[in-house]
């Protein structure tokens, strides 16, 4: 590089600005935000009569403490809705550009193919971050409006102050973001295989669903720790005292392994591909 690289002028900045200027991105974030809102209103409408242990975890606590809206909504969104939105964004990365023909103009600009892949992956990762934080922050806000907010009783029985609870909420959002990175890498790889973005999106969602079905079969428990979704709901450890970051670390390592494998596959596929459409 002959000139100093400023963030504003970089391809990364361009990628993020294109991603977050799409109406589709905002529509998905808006729908993500609807999850805690719907949940909070449903709990409010049903009164405070939910017996413990019924419905998703923490549901019975929502009416006592609004801070639980975010956790509960997150648990509801992880199996299907978040993977769905990630599938849309990650599946679109390369296939979407190939489909509109803009990929060939990016390549003759010229952009380095490996660099474009990295930028696309980081763009999808930024969306994961945006989606989980949208969900959590909306959950906190709607919870605070509709329900009392106070010190949070953790799973271990300890009570922590509101700022400490917010820190844990932040950590859970980070945890879920990391959980989704492996899936983003898979979506990126699938996206290099086709010029039909919808196909890549659907395939990514199928991968996430099949993985979770496999994860529910006890007969193949031996492969469970290697499934991408193994730690998805494992953020309960963050809600104990003392905080146990063991699953956070295992999860991060597992996701890094998936990023390495599917990143390499995407690289080998994309850097040798003839771009003809």
């Amino acid at each position: 590089m002959l000139h100093a690289k400023s963030m504003r002028g970089s391809l990364m900045y361009s990628e993020l600005s294109v991603l977050f200027r799409r109406r589709r991105t905002w529509a998905m974030l808006f729908t993500v935000a609807l999850i805690p809102i719907c949940l909070a209103f449903a709990v409010l409408a049903s009164g405070s009569t939910i017996p413990p242990g019924e419905g998703p975890p923490f549901l019975d606590r929502v009416s006592q403490n609004g801070l639980f809206v975010g956790f509960t909504a997150m648990i509801m969104a992880i199996p299907l809705f978040l993977p769905l939105t990630i599938g849309v964004v990650a599946g679109d990365t390369i296939a979407g550009e190939a489909n509109t023909g803009t990929l060939r103009y990016l390549l003759i600009a010229p952009v380095n193919r490996a660099r474009l892949l990295v930028v696309k992956f980081l763009g999808a990762a930024a969306f994961c971050l945006a989606a989980t934080f949208t969900l959590m922050i909306t959950g906190i806000i709607i919870g605070a409006i509709l329900f009392p907010v106070g010190p949070v009783t953790l799973l271990s029985g300890d009570v922590v102050s509101i700022p400490a609870a917010l820190l844990r909420i932040f950590l859970v959002a980070i945890y879920v973001t990391i959980s989704l990175l492996g899936l983003s890498a898979i979506g990126l790889f699938i996206s290099t295989l086709t010029v039909i973005p919808v196909g890549a999106m659907a395939a990514t969602v199928v991968v996430s669903t099949v993985t979770q079905i496999l994860g529910a079969l006890p007969q193949i428990a031996v492969i469970h720790p290697y499934l991408i979704s193994y730690y998805w709901l494992g953020f309960a450890d963050i809600l104990r005292n003392p905080m146990d970051l063991g699953s956070m670390i295992s999860n991060t390592l597992l996701q890094l392994a998936y990023i390495a494998i599917f990143g390499a596959l995407a690289y080998s596929r994309f850097t040798t591909k003839d771009v003809l459409s």
Binding site: S6, G9, S14, T100, G101, T102, P110, V111
Partner: protein, 260 residues
């Protein structure tokens, strides 16, 4: 252009072997490949900024100025803030050329630059190409519109089934050994006889007579003089080189199954 791998042989682009040294050649090359393609939900200006951001040799500090200059050159300054999905095909085509002009280029590769354009659009693009050529940029056009090629190109090559079957300057390629004679008259029999006396075999179709004449064999004035002397009333007469289309068909074959 670094989009596809080569199946055999070597390709030199501005003296660099591609795809091995594509990174050195591409900054000097602007291109329109298989029609323009943009992000429909971005404005024309934002599309150019996007593609320029992808260019690792482009200086972000001069980006805005270069984008403005390129838009001005193709006459899209008025429409720069419109979303591209609202652009006409001609405007997209021009925006595509603007994208190719974001940097000073030595070579422009334009694939079917007037494809799908209305007559005004075709004129716009043709004038733009002439303007750019007059600034000293080499422009490489691939097109099936032979009339266009005849109008704007200085040199051309004809390809058939992936092989170049003829190349040279436009004058060289349109220099024909056989000229087409066309004649319109009421006295067809008399005219065919008259042509026969000059050594030209002609066929009549209604009031029209067609024949082929080797170039330089006989002056058109003489043919007309002989026929008039015979009492043939001539309504129309032409002796001309075949069009580029006829030359093209002559080189590549005729019919729909040519490429078998």
């Amino acid at each position: 252009m670094g989009l596809a791998n080569i199946s055999s042989g070597d390709v030199l682009l501005l003296g660099y072997s591609v795809p091995a040294e594509i990174g050195k050649a591409l900054p000097k090359v602007g291109a329109l490949v298989e029609g323009p393609a943009f992000y429909p939900y971005l404005s024309g200006r934002d599309n150019l900024i996007r593609f320029d951001s992808a260019d690792r040799y482009a200086d972000p500090a001069t980006r805005a100025a270069r984008v403005d200059a390129a838009l001005a050159k193709v006459g899209l300054t008025q429409a720069e803030d419109k979303k591209v999905h609202a652009y006409s095909l001609g405007m997209k085509q021009r925006l595509g050329i603007a994208n190719a002009l974001l940097q000073p280029r030595d070579l422009l590769v334009l694939d079917e630059p007037t494809n799908g354009l209305d007559p005004q659009g075709t004129r716009e693009v043709r004038n733009l190409i002439r303007l750019l050529a007059s600034e000293g940029i080499t422009i490489f056009i691939s097109s099936h519109l032979l009339v266009e090629i005849e109008q704007i190109c200085t040199h051309l090559a004809v390809m058939s089934q992936g092989k170049i079957v003829a190349q040279g300057s436009v004058e060289e390629l349109s220099q024909a050994e056989i000229l087409n004679l066309q004649l319109e008259t009421a006295q067809t029999d008399l005219a065919v006889q008259g042509l026969k006396s000059l050594g030209i075999a002609a066929t009549a179709d209604g009031e029209k007579i067609f024949a082929t004449v080797p170039a330089g064999q006989i002056e058109p004035e003489r043919i007309v003089a002989v026929l008039v002397e015979l009492g043939v009333g001539i309504k129309a007469f032409s002796l001309a080189a075949p069009t580029l289309e006829e030359r093209f068909v002559g080189l590549t074959g005729e019919g729909f199954d040519v490429a078998r």
